[in-house]
Amino acid sequence: MTSLPVVIIKPSKGWVSLKLGELWEYRELLYFLTWRDIKVRYKQTVLGVAWAVIQPFFSMVVFSLFFGHLAKIPSDGIPYPLFSYAALLPWNYFAQSLHQASNSLIGSSNLISKVYFPRLLIPISGVLSGVIDFAVAFTVLMGMMIYYSVWPTPRILLLPFFLLLALITALGTGTWLSALNVEYRDVRYVVPFLTQFWMFATPVVYPSSLLSEPWRTLYGLNPMVGVVEGFRWVLLGANPPGALLVVSIWVSILLLVSGAYYFRRIEKRFADII
């Protein structure tokens, strides 16, 4: 007779392990949850995929008009539309993933109260499903780069790394907010406000070169600064992010690890209060 897996059930106390092995075991469920999010999103909307483009594109048009054309905000010598779109691309991915992830647990309350699986899968699938929208919006950037005759360099190979940095930041913040959202339902009202505030704290409409050192490095405490500067660097040949990137990477990892531990700590109460 083959040996059967043994599950021990008992009350847990304090900080608990992340159980990463179990997450890996449930990777197929993660795939299906992500796939469901993507399918449903595109099925429920009339314009479908077009939404992924409309939002960043029109933001770019408005920003170019007001900040680039009227306010004459510097853009490090890069055409302003390209300058802002290259930042809006990761920013929109981040903002949307954060929104998805922080509401994900509430939206899956029927799953949480009826089936067991590692709950961390829910916010993770929330940030993964946004990658498709990102990819769609990215094609527009390609078109714009051709239009402005800006040719990519081999540095573009680093792009996935910066996308991953945005993903980790979104997931880290998302696990914090989603877990808080289960316990305190008014967190959901904080998220849009936080996102808006965060955007202006990120060099989306202006360059970080407006700051001098050491402030510029400190600016990296907002990990999205590293992401946006990185995108402009690898795509448009702007100045490399430098030391602030190191700060951004550490902050994003800290966010993710602390978020995941906090999430696991209060996870056991989800089914009772959701």
């Binding site: 059967l4 059930i9 469901r36 089936v115 209060i273």
Partner: protein
């Protein structure tokens, strides 16, 4: 390698009572509370005693591999809490349990079904949620579809399915789960009779294959048919376990004791409680109080209510459910169904439900009462009363079906065509 599949020791689950009422706090309230009582916030050792209840307390049992165990008990006794603990949906507050083998839990059919997705897509999604691997679903896909009898509608979004189709699809996915231990909660209470029978058959097969099943149900007939052992949970405690027929008999005896308590004194009631039911009685067509009813004769069920609220009471709906002792819901009477409105009722009073020709065969039936005002449940008592039916001449021929064919009687006319 032992033969034990599940071993539970002194499992207990404590809930905060205020989480029943307001399931979540707001950040603002928590901050205010933290400011008002900083010490209590820091200590946070347990909750004040009066604000918690034990949904489950000191439950210990063992289940051998291959056993099919029924868990019986009234609503709110803690059966579902036990299943939720064993399926790891919620953590116990105390105690310990060990489970040997892969666990599949079916606490509801169609968990995670998405209305926008097609039948095909939902089979994969639901399968994955229940713990199947993709390769496993691929392999069983055709069987699942055949079992559900939905080949033609595979590529239709399930939001266009009838509720029957929906349930069939959902159960079919669940039926092909192959864990060593299956935890099942009430899922057989759905679907049409034919499909229910098919599901019962499928569950029986599962049991014969030597897998372990824990089955929670109100339907004693299903429990008796499927299980060889039963555990009876009452008010959070395991009061008895053993041979299924014996435990069911004891449980039913306990219910009949409960039914003999006057309505006014019953504590196990749910609802707002501003208006309460205080008594019930049976009357014949002359308005005389009777102890039992007769098949085919007029029966009046009279409900008395009382309130301390301001009167008059408007939009009152009284409901009477008639069940077999085994928990099968046979008849629901309700003044909303007949279009009778009860408005402007006084501080206390009585309403009557008249059944002109009682369509029940001789036997004892279980009554549930529910009272709603403006759509909100005021009072709801299960196993509230008993209805004894004596033989009567329903068809006017002096004949009744034999007791073994018992249940409901309907008017019928036969002829040659």
């Amino acid at each position: 390698m032992g033969r034990i599949a599940i071993c539970a020791e002194r499992l207990g689950k404590q809930y905060r009572i205020d989480t029943y009422r307001a399931p979540y706090a707001t950040l603002r309230e928590s901050l205010i509370r933290a400011v008002q009582a900083p010490l209590r916030f820091l200590q946070r050792k347990g909750y004040p005693v009066d604000r918690t209840i034990w949904a489950l307390k000191g439950v210990s049992f063992e289940v051998q591999r291959g056993e099919v165990v029924g868990i019986i008990g009234r609503n709110g006794a803690g059966k579902s809490t036990l299943l939720k603990i064993l399926s790891r949906i919620t953590e116990p507050t105390e105690g310990y349990a060990e489970i040997h083998g892969r666990v599949g839990s079916l606490l509801e059919v169609g968990t995670g079904f998405h209305p926008e997705l097609t039948g095909r897509e939902n089979i994969y999604l639901n399968g994955a949620i229940l713990g199947m691997r993709k390769a496993e679903i691929d392999r069983k896909f055709d069987e699942i579809v055949a079992f559900a009898e939905l080949e033609k509608f595979l590529d239709t979004p399930v939001k266009y399915y009838s509720s029957g189709m929906y349930v069939r699809l959902a159960f079919s996915v669940a039926a092909y789960l192959e864990p060593e231990i299956l935890l099942v909660d009430e899922v057989l209470a759905v679907g049409d009779a034919g499909f229910q029978k098919k599901c019962l058959g499928k569950m029986g097969e599962v049991a014969k294959e030597g897998r372990t099943v824990l089955f929670v149900s109100h339907n004693m007939a299903a429990v008796e048919a499927l299980c060889n052992r039963a555990c009876w949970i009452k008010e959070g405690r395991l009061v008895d376990s053993g041979v299924v027929s014996v435990i069911i008999r004891r449980y039913l005896e306990d219910l009949s004791v409960l039914r003999s308590i006057p309505l006014r004194d019953r504590l196990d009631r749910q609802g707002r409680g501003h208006v309460v039911l205080t008594d019930y009685g049976l009357m014949d067509n002359q308005g005389r109080k009777v102890e039992f009813a007769i098949s085919g004769q007029e029966l009046n069920i009279v409900l008395s209510y009382e309130t301390k609220d301001s009167v008059p009471l408007d939009d009152m709906v009284f409901g009477i459910g008639i069940f077999t002792l085994y928990g099968q819901h046979l008849i629901q009477c309700n003044n909303q169904l007949t279009g009778t409105e009860f408005n402007g009722l006084g501080r206390s009073g009585r309403v009557r439900c008249k059944i002109p020709r009682l369509p029940l065969t001789p036997g004892v039936f279980n009554l549930n009462f529910i009272l709603r005002r403006k759509g909100e449940i005021e009072d709801w008592i299960q196993d509230a009363g008993q209805l004894t039916v004596e033989a009567g001449d329903f068809f006017g021929t002096g004949r009744l079906p034999p007791p073994s064919h018992g249940g409901l009687l309907v008017d019928q006319e036969w002829g040659i065509v």
